[in-house]
């Protein structure tokens, strides 16, 4: 038994913010049907490396594969009467619709919430988009990096004496995924009491602000604008990333109290620079941070990352390797948490999907089916689930429903 058995979800949209919500629902057993356009398939299939063997192709895209395991994929031309009718039939039998089009699109397609609710008063619809369904900037186009910049995160990343650094990928989208998912679950909970569905208006920008809230609250309280400062901490020292032997090998470490400082110093072999009494307090170490960092770097650069981590872990000091994308695949803690799940795809072969960071004791996520190919489940869904006969299916096909 899965946690979300029996939950029926219809997904419209593309890229991450909507489909990753659907992915988490599918991971836990919901039936998730994606409606895709054959004429304009999901942009993740065509605009984002990596591709199998580095060659682009609709069924070769890693980004799409990661976001769409365990779903059913159909193609519908929503601009055709027959296609729209089928979409409505799918939604009439669904519990949840997830869409991440620009505001107004669903209504223009004839799939606005008021229309859908008339056929299905219990429907929970999540509309997730850049800046929300309303407001002066609701129609402003932007991709994940833009909203990450707008939400304040880029300003806060990098070194104080230089341009901010980019964060990898659409950082903000995945914050919105968590809040969108939570909102859907909350709406379903409310429905269990009231019997009624609801329309959820989620702004990726606004959810991003929840993660930036400490800086926003600080500004409101003091007028101070938070600034980037590399890996430094306002009070603690040492607190940073230090180079180890080898190419691009780093450890991250931090010392949080005076007893930890003692253990840290001892683990380093009590180097003379560390014995000065002024360094016995965080404040003192903060004042001499550059010297402390230099002393530590001398120690770490004479060791491998693994050795440095081992020694400091034995001493009970906050430390971790700066893992790269190869390292995480052999990391024993991520393995113990069943993070990477192998799936077999008809074109891509075996690929690694990613399970959720949470493992439920009785009904953990099961990742079993690879991302769907374009229109792969047209028959399974329209005949198998909706009950179209062969002649009805062919009539729809002739009418351009699946184009």
């Amino acid at each position: 038994m899965s946690a979300l058995d029996g939950l029926r979800v219809v997904e419209l949209g593309a890229f991450a913010a909507g489909p990753a919500v659907g992915k988490h629902l599918a991971d836990h057993g919901a039936e998730v049907i994606r409606i895709e356009s054959r004429a304009r398939p999901d942009g993740f299939r065509s605009n984002y490396p990596p591709y199998l063997d580095g060659l682009p192709g609709t069924e070769r895209a890693g980004m799409f594969a990661m976001t769409n395991n365990d779903k059913l994929g159909v193609t519908l031309d929503l601009k055709s009467e027959a296609g729209l009718a089928l979409a409505r039939r799918l939604i009439d039998r669904a519990d949840v619709v997830v869409e991440n089009f620009t505001p107004g699109t669903m209504t223009r397609l004839g799939l606005g919430y008021d229309t859908l609710r008339a056929g299905n008063p219990r429907l929970v619809m999540l509309s997730t988009c850049n800046q929300g369904q309303t407001g002066p900037n609701a129609q402003r186009a932007g991709f994940g990096t833009h909203l990450t910049a707008q939400s304040g995160f880029l300003h806060l990343t990098g070194w104080p004496d230089r341009s901010p650094s980019l964060l990898w990928g659409p950082y903000i989208d995945y914050i919105a995924v968590a809040y969108g998912f939570v909102a859907v679950m909350a709406a379903l909970d409310e429905r269990s009491r009231t019997g009624a569905g609801t329309h959820i208006d989620l702004s990726q920008y606004e959810t991003g602000l929840q993660f930036a809230a400490p800086a926003l609250v600080e500004y409101s309280a003091t007028g101070q604008v938070a600034e980037r400062d590399g890996n430094r901490h306002p009070e603690l020292a040492p607190h940073g990333v230090y180079s180890c032997s080898g190419e691009d090998r780093w450890v991250a470490l931090s010392v949080h109290d005076e007893l930890e400082w003692e253990r840290f110093r001892r683990a380093l072999g009590d180097p003379p620079w560390s014995l000065r009494p002024e360094l016995g307090s965080a404040r003192g170490r903060k004042l001499e941070e550059a010297e402390v960092d230099a002393g530590i770097a001398e120690w770490t650069s004479a060791r491998t990352r693994e050795e440095a981590v081992r020694i400091l872990r034995e001493a009970g000091v906050h430390v971790a390797p700066v893992n790269d994308m190869a390292d995480i695949h052999s990391d024993p803690d991520l393995a113990a948490h069943a993070v990477f799940r192998a799936l077999r795809h008809a074109v891509m072969g075996e690929y690694l999907a990613v399970g959720p960071p949470f493992l439920l004791s009785e009904t953990p996520a099961h990742l079993e089916r690879p991302a769907f190919q374009l229109g792969e489940h047209n028959r399974e869904v329209f005949q198998g689930l909706l009950g179209l006969s062969e002649s009805e299916f062919q009539a729809c096909e002739a009418a351009g429903a699946f184009d």
Binding site: P50, G135, T157, Y174, T207, Q210, N231, A320, L360
Partner: protein, 375 residues
Amino acid sequence: MLELGGELGWLCGKILADLGADVIKIEPPGGDEGRGGTAFVAHNVGKRSIVLDLDSEVDRARLRQLALRADFLVETFTPGHLDRLGLGWADLHAANPRLVMTSITAYGQHSPHAQAPASDLEIMAAGGALSLAGDPDRPPVRVTLPQAAAWTGAYAAMGTLVAHHHRQATGRGQQVDVSAQAAMLPILVQAPMFWSLLGQVPVRSGPNLVGRNLAGARLRNIWPCRDGYVSFALYSGHAGRQSNQALADWIAARGMLPAELEGFDWDAFDPVTAPREDVERIQAAVEPFLASLAKDEFLAGCRERRLLGYPVATAADIAADAQLADRQVWQLVGGVSHPSGWARFDSRVGRIARPAPALGEHQAEVLGELGAVLA
């Protein structure tokens, strides 16, 4: 919901409080270790607070009583700690089979390094997120404003509500084992697949995007402007082509378009497949143009010309954003502006119910409620 422990649990508790749950922080006599900073205030609004000393048998009994009546319990103790106190999952589940217990730790309940201390920096490092940001000639960087606890708390809330949904159907609770390190994976997006599909390791690249252009060109994303920085990049797809063209037209209107780019076929240009020289030539023209504009000017131009561009906003920029004012995002709580209402349910906007609690502020109230139940 009962919330025990530290910052890894804060946002899980706040999210449930935002949704209307009664979230009670149970703090040790010295208070939550994170008290005293703005992060504590930002992520602990909406909650009540009592003090229980889990070294005392009386207080452990109180916690057990509270847990018997709770729907949710979130805790961030090192694995094994609550078990040794007779308050672990096995104990609480036996006493309250409906309880959903969310156990949040740096590496998960059963990992080899479950006992290793890790703060924001180490979690970002272990989870791979730290490796992907920063300038190539300096160490990799985290976001200076700590993010690991936020990701962990938000994804913990997801798992908590999945377990809740299951409980609605079956009457049975579950333990939700959350690994903060694993909660860093969403930040990586498709970066792990560069390795698993192609054997490539993405590296930090400062203000540039790598891995998008197939010929290895770096697509610049952050550009200095007259009074700060802006986010702009060359994009693919319909919207991207429009935007690329619009920028070129604007540069030309200012008389700053180099001769070699006149008559450039923007409709055919795709930054994913374009050769390096094309990308570099275009970006060389973009740089001085953007440097000549103020943030406001740039934004106005993006609006008028339908260009994909945004400011690299500061807290001050965000506080002044008309979109957020229109959406009534700001709520004054305890005299300070908080972003609230992160989702509207049929236009209902959730509001923060109370300021971040003082330590033990609700002791009498909560224990009084408990007493009333037990009487």
